[in-house]
Symmetry: C2
Subunit: 434 residues, 2 copies
C-alpha cells in the first residue's frame, strides 16, 4: 500500500502533465480527491489549480493561507494567477499582493481592475513590444536575448515611447521580410485592437471571425495593456456553450461533477421550486374545469397530449431563436419574417398532428366530437407556442435576462396553461352548453 502510495505520489508530481492531474481530480469523488490533493507537492499545486473548474478552485484555494497561495503560484502566468486570486477573500488577496515585488503587484492590480469577463480580465501582460523605427535585423537580435518567447506569440506589438499602441508585426512577416527594412515598413496598422472593457464573449466572436491567435488590449487612451491569446478564448467558447446547456436545466456550468449530495440538492431545489409554481398554475387551470372532467374522463386522459405537443413545438422555435440571436441573425427587420415563418410552420405541423391525434382519439373513445375538440386545441396551442417561442427570447434579451435560463420555464408555463385552457374550455362549451 505504501508502494502504491509512493507510485501515486510520483504520478501526481511530474509523472503526469499537470492538466491530466487536474482532470483526474475533477473525475474523482470528494474523499479520494482530498487524498490525491494531499499528495501533490506544494509548489506544483498552483499549476494544477489553474486547470480546475472554478468550483474546485474555490474549494482548494479557499483553505490556503497567503503563504501557501504564494508558494503554489510562483510559476503561474499572470492571467492564470489573477484568475486564482479572484477566488480568494479580499483579506488574503491583500496579503498575497503585499508580499510580491512592486512590478508584479502593479501588473496584477492592473489586470484585476477589469472584471473577469472582459478583455482586460482575461489578458496577459507578457507582451513583447518593439518601436517602429528599428530595423527587422535589430528585432531579430533582440528576440535572441530571450530564453523563449511567450506562448501564442504570433506577432510583436509596436508601441510608441509612451506605450501608445501603433500596430503589430506578425512573426510570419518578420521571417520572410528583408532584415534591413524598418518595423514601420512591414507592421500592420489596421489590425484589430480590443478595448479592455470589451465583454469576453464579444472577444471570442472577433477571434472566431478573423481566425486570430492573439490580439492586443488597449485602454481608453489607446495605451497598450496586454494581449488576449487564443487558448483563453477557446476556454471562453467552451464555457459559453456549457453555460447554455446547463442553464437550460437551471444548473451552474462551473458546478463540480462530484459536488456532495447536500450542496447539489440545495442548488437544484430552487429550480424545482420555480417549476412547481408553474405546475400549480397549470393545475389551477385544470381545476376550473373539474366539473367537465367528472362527466367526461377521457379529457383527463388526453389533456397531457395537448400540453406536451405545445411544449415540444415551442421549445423547437425557442431553440432556433436563441441560436439565431446568439449568432446575430435576428434583428428588428427580419423578426417579422421569422414570426411569419414560425406561425406557418406551427400551423402546418398543428394541422398534421391534429388530424392524427383526432383520429386516434375518435377510435379510442368512440366520440367524434372529442376528435374535433382535441384537434382544434392542438392547432391553437402550436400557434401560441410558435408566437411565444419567437417573441419571448427577443423580449427577454431586451430586458437583459438570459433566454436560455428562463425561456423554457416561461414557455412551458404558457403552453401548459393555453393547452389545458383550450382543450378543457372547448370541451366545456361543446359538451356542457349543448
Amino acid at each position: 500500500s505504501s508502494g502504491a502510495m509512493g507510485q501515486a505520489r510520483r504520478m501526481l508530481n511530474g509523472g503526469l502533465p499537470q492538466v491530466d492531474v487536474a482532470h483526474l481530480l475533477e473525475a474523482t469523488p470528494p474523499k479520494e480527491r482530498e487524498i490525491l490533493w494531499g499528495l501533490i507537492d506544494e509548489e506544483l499545486r498552483g499549476d494544477v489549480l489553474q486547470y480546475l473548474s472554478e468550483d474546485l478552485q474555490s474549494d482548494f484555494i479557499g483553505r490556503m493561507n497567503a503563504e501557501e497561495v504564494l508558494a503554489a503560484t510562483t510559476n503561474l502566468d499572470l492571467d492564470d494567477l489573477v484568475d486564482l486570486l479572484q477566488r480568494l477573500p479580499d483579506a488574503v488577496i491583500g496579503e498575497v499582493l503585499q508580499s510580491m515585488d512592486a512590478q508584479d503587484r502593479h501588473r496584477i492590480e492592473l489586470a484585476m481592475a477589469y472584471p473577469e469577463d472582459t478583455a482586460g480580465g482575461i489578458m496577459n501582460t507578457d507582451t513583447i513590444t518593439v518601436r517602429p523605427d528599428i530595423t527587422l535585423d535589430v528585432v531579430l537580435r533582440y528576440l535572441r536575448w530571450h530564453d523563449q518567447l511567450p506562448d501564442s506569440t504570433d506577432a510583436l506589438l509596436v508601441v510608441s515611447r509612451r506605450d501608445d499602441f501603433i500596430g503589430r508585426l506578425p512573426i510570419n512577416k518578420l521571417l520572410v521580410a528583408d532584415p534591413n527594412i524598418t518595423v514601420r515598413e512591414v507592421m500592420e496598422t489596421d489590425c484589430l485592437k480590443l478595448q479592455a472593457t470589451l465583454e469576453d464573449t464579444e472577444v471570442a466572436k472577433l477571434f472566431e471571425k478573423f481566425d486570430l491567435i492573439s490580439a492586443p488590449v488597449v485602454d481608453d487612451d489607446n495605451r497598450l495593456l496586454g494581449r488576449v491569446t487564443i487558448d483563453d478564448v477557446v476556454d471562453i467558447i467552451r464555457e459559453d456553450a456549457e453555460h447554455t446547456v446547463m442553464s437550460m436545466a437551471g444548473l451552474d456550468e462551473e458546478e463540480d461533477t462530484f459536488s456532495p449530495a447536500l450542496k447539489t440538492s440545495r442548488r437544484r431545489a430552487v429550480w424545482l421550486g420555480i417549476n412547481l409554481l408553474t405546475a400549480f398554475l397549470a393545475s389551477s387551470v385544470i381545476g376550473l374545469f373539474e366539473g367537465t372532467i367528472q362527466q367526461i374522463t377521457a379529457l383527463a386522459v388526453l389533456m397531457p397530449i395537448v400540453a406536451s405537443m405545445g411544449g415540444i413545438g415551442g421549445s423547437q422555435t425557442l431553440t432556433v431563436m436563441i441560436r439565431g440571436i446568439a449568432l446575430g441573425h435576428v434583428s428588428g427587420s427580419n423578426l417579422r419574417w421569422l414570426l411569419r415563418r414560425e406561425l406557418i410552420a406551427g400551423a402546418i405541423n398543428g394541422l398534421i398532428w391534429a388530424v392524427v391525434v383526432a383520429v386516434i382519439a375518435i377510435i379510442w373513445f368512440q366520440d367524434i366530437k372529442l376528435g374535433w375538440i382535441i384537434g382544434t386545441a392542438i392547432i391553437i396551442n402550436l400557434l401560441i407556442a410558435a408566437l411565444t417561442g419567437t417573441l419571448l427570447p427577443v423580449l427577454l434579451k431586451k430586458m437583459h435576462i438570459d433566454p436560455a435560463l428562463s425561456g423554457s420555464v416561461i414557455l412551458t408555463t404558457v403552453t401548459d396553461v393555453i393547452g389545458f385552457m383550450a382543450f378543457l374550455g372547448l370541451a366545456t362549451m361543446f359538451y356542457l352548453a349543448h
Copy 2:
C-alpha cells in the same frame, strides 16, 4: 435605386470583409438573400461560401456547374475547398477534379479520402517542412524565399527524406536559438501527432488540453500528411456545442436560421411525432385509472404536478451526467458514487417538495389522504428520475446513441409514466380498495 444597388454591389465586392458578407447572407431571409448573392462577383463567391453554414453552402453550390465552382474556388485554402467539394454531387466533383492540375488533384483526393469529421478531413496540406540535419540559419534563409508563411504557422515540421514525421521546430525556438546549430538540436520529438483517422472532437480536446495552435497529421505509417490548425478547431468546438443544444430539441445545428416554412416544418414534424408516441404512452397509463379519476377529480387536477416534478428533476441529473461524460469525468469506478449522490439528492428534494405539495393539496381539496398520496408519488418519481437520469446516458453512450438527442425524450417518457402510475395507482389503492 440604381445608386443604392451600386452601393450594395460595392459593399459586397470588397467593401465588407468576406466573413461579414457571409454573415449578412445568413442573417437575411431567402428572397433578399438571392438578390444579394446575385450581386457578388463570381470569383469572390468561393471566399464567401467558405464562411457559410453547411445548409447554405449546399443551397448555393448545388446550383453551380463545375466551371462556376472552379471560378469561385481558385483562391481557397485546400481544407476549405475540400469542405465545399463535399457538398457537391459526385459527378460535379469529378469534373472539378478533372480540370485541376495533377498536384492539386492529388492533394485534394488525399484529404477527401478521410471523413469530414476526422483529423484527415479537417487538415491543411500547406505545411512547411524541413530536414533535421540543416542549420537554423539555412532554415531562416529558406523561409525568406516565401512571400508569406501559411496562417497559424507556429512551427515547421521536421520530416525525413521519405516524409516520415520526425518532430516539430517551433518558430519561437527558431527565433531565439543560435543560428549555427542544426534543426535536430532544437526540434521537439515528443510532440503530439494526430492520426488522420482521429475523430474531430477528440482533436479539439487535445488542442484544448495542450493549448495548441497547430498539430501535425500522420497516417498509419507515420508519414506526414498535413496539419490541423486552431481556427478549424474553434469551429469544431462551436459546432459541437451547437449540436448539443440543437439536438436536445430534435434540430440540426447546420439548419439555416431562415430556412423556408415548409422545409422547417418537415424537419420538425419528426420530433413532434416521436414526442406524440411518448405522450400517448403516458395517456394510456392515465386511461387505466379512468374509474378512479371519475370519482376523485382532484387527481386529474394534481397529476401533472407529479409528472412535471419528475421531468425537471430527471433533466437536471441527465444534464449533469451528459456533461460529465463529455468531459470524461464519468467512469465505471465512480458511476456508483454518482448514482448514490443523485439518489440522495433526489430523496432530499423529493421529501422537501413532497411536504410542500402535500400541504397545498390538503388545504386546496380538504383531504389529508390526498396529501399523503401525492407526497409519496413525488418522492417515488424523483427517485426514479434520479436513477434514470444517471444510468440512461451511460447506457445510450454504450449503445453509441447520442444522449443529447434521445436522452430527454426517453427520460420524460419514464417520468410521465411512473409519475401517473404512482399517483393514480396509490390513489386507486387507498380510495377504492377501502
